[in-house]
Amino acid sequence: MRVTIPGLRGGLIPFAAVVVVLAVLPVLGMPREWLLYLFLFFIYLAMANMWNLLAGYSGLICLCPAAFVGVAGYTVAIGTWVGLPFYLGIIAGAIAAVAFALLISFPVFRLRGIYFAIGTLVLPEVLKAWFLLWRPVGGVMVGRGAGYAVKGVQGVSLTEWYWVALVIGIASIFLMRIILSSKLGLGLAAIRDNDDTAASSGIDVFRLKLYSFVIAAFIMGMAGAIFYSYGGYIEPVGAFSIRWLLIALLATVIGGEGIKEGPIIGTAIVVILHFLLARYTGISLLIQGALLIIIMLLVPQGIVGYIQKTRAYRLLSKLASGR
């Protein structure tokens, strides 16, 4: 049996070429700082792709990426304290995020629209409050908060982490394409446009939304687990911070919600912004908040959406298809 991935056939060769170039970059002697920003790019790209799947394609304004990231990150960290090596811990972390997503899906999927958004907004706060109190292993709690070092990651170089992040980033792009060209993607599009109509044409709304929620939890969890394994330390305030939501949300909105290519462009812009404003943490967030509002009001379809509407792009795509 031959497996075909319809959305990919045309662009597979240039896509593969880009991936190969990205993969050999560290060997070619790329500066450490650049590698670090590319590492962040791939982690954020995975987050943004999944946020796009939720908000852009499934109509779920999910405000809890930090919950998945934090749960997975803590699974890795605590896992290394009880003897689980971190590379297995990353997978365990993603599975823990999925388990968490399944657990909370019972209450939050009863909610719709704005109630769903607020319901998910509560989750990272609950987890933060919980992890500030709970210290399962590693002796007594010192001060406020259960901070954990991830053990056994000292030997791993940035280059290796870069490759791991590359895999998750590229995997998230592939996954999006596969989902969108599958029956799941079609069902999700129908739900996004109108739940009731979709339900009456025989689509199991709850189940499809749950699928995309669980897939997003898995990838976001894995991205978070990789991030915290690289960082080597996790603490509740950072792990369950609203910053994770802002990154995924901003990258998706800048690029274009509900557009496959949107998060790639959006994440690139977010990472460049982080790079430019690295020294001014407070102002950086302030500017990101302002940018979110400006994009939302002036170009709600995002940059990619805007470009796709311009005359030059249409002309080019007509030329490309009619050759």
Partner: protein, 288 residues
């Protein structure tokens, strides 16, 4: 009997704290009722109000409650501008866009406070903040009593405003049915702007009393947003009494949670309660 005597203090404190939560929730409820959007920046705007009073107290030596003479008009103007120039445009895009714009505002106000006033914990401590008096076995701090009294006064004023003035009636009409209100010749865009501005003036009041009751940091906003949302859900939209009861439910959840599970678990209990209420009855208990 000893358990009961021990319980008196958390119960009295919880009811009084309910006043504070009602104050915080009133602005959120007004905006939610009229525009059907949760202003996720509400908590941060309340904290911004606390910081304004803090600045007035430390720099000009003005009493926090008196500083509301400046704080309320300032937040009123900010609120009017936000609604007029940002949210009204976002509504033209979609309801989700409005939610995301509010989220952007939340990030902006949070970090603005962080830049100006540093991330350290602050509190409003005028001389009367430490005073207390005893009723029977309970020793009540004056500030806690002020929370409840202010909440009752503000609620009464809001009720009379909504019933008696043209603007109040227009707000009420727009919250019941925007299209019908528009057809009756009400300028809904302007009504929205005034509703948001009034909600922000309430946020200023709530901010001052929050600062008198609790220490606050620039990131405290989210916690109070979640509690205020819980209060709105319990109280339902358009029910003042419901909002007051909702506030007390959360005040009691917090103090009783603290009494039985230790002070650190207070917030945890309140969050779980929000979550349970959302899951069981999202349309509220006293709602229409």
């Amino acid at each position: 009997m000893e358990v009961l005597a021990g319980l008196t203090t958390p119960i009295v404190f919880g009811i009084l704290l309910g006043g504070l939560y009602t104050l915080i929730a009133l602005g959120l409820s007004l905006v939610f009722g009229v525009m059907k959007v949760i202003n996720v920046a509400h908590g941060d705007l309340v904290i911004f109000g606390s910081y304004l009073a803090f600045a007035a107290m430390t720099m000009l030596g003005i009493d926090p409650i008196l500083s509301l003479v400046m704080g309320m008009p300032l937040l009123f103007v900010i609120g009017f501008g936000v609604q007029r120039f940002l949210l009204n445009r976002a509504f033209a895009v979609s309801l989700d866009a409005a939610l995301l714009v509010c989220f952007g505002l939340s990030i902006i106000f949070q970090n603005f406070c962080q830049i100006i006033w540093t991330p350290f914990s602050r509190s409003l401590k005028p001389p009367y903040a430490l005073e207390s008096f005893s009723v029977g076995v309970v020793n009540i701090p004056l500030v806690y009593l002020l929370d409840l009294v202010t909440a009752l006064v503000v609620m009464l004023l809001l009720r009379e405003f909504l019933r008696r003035t043209y603007l109040g009636k227009a707000i009420n009409a727009a919250s019941q049915d925007t299209k019908a209100a528009l057809l009756m010749g009400i300028n809904t865009g302007r009504v929205y702007a005034f509703a948001f501005a009034i909600a922000m003036a309430f946020a200023a009041i709530a901010g001052v009393f929050l600062g008198l009751t609790y220490p606050f940091t620039p990131t405290s906003g989210v916690a109070f947003l979640i509690i205020a949302f819980g209060v709105v859900i319990v109280g339902g939209l358009g029910s003042m009494l419901g909002t007051l009861i909702g506030g007390m439910v959360f005040g009691l959840a917090q103090t009783l949670g603290g009494y039985f599970l230790g002070a650190v678990a207070q917030m945890f209990v309140a969050y779980i309660l929000v979550f349970v209420i959302l899951a069981v009855r999202p349309q509220g208990i006293f709602g229409r």
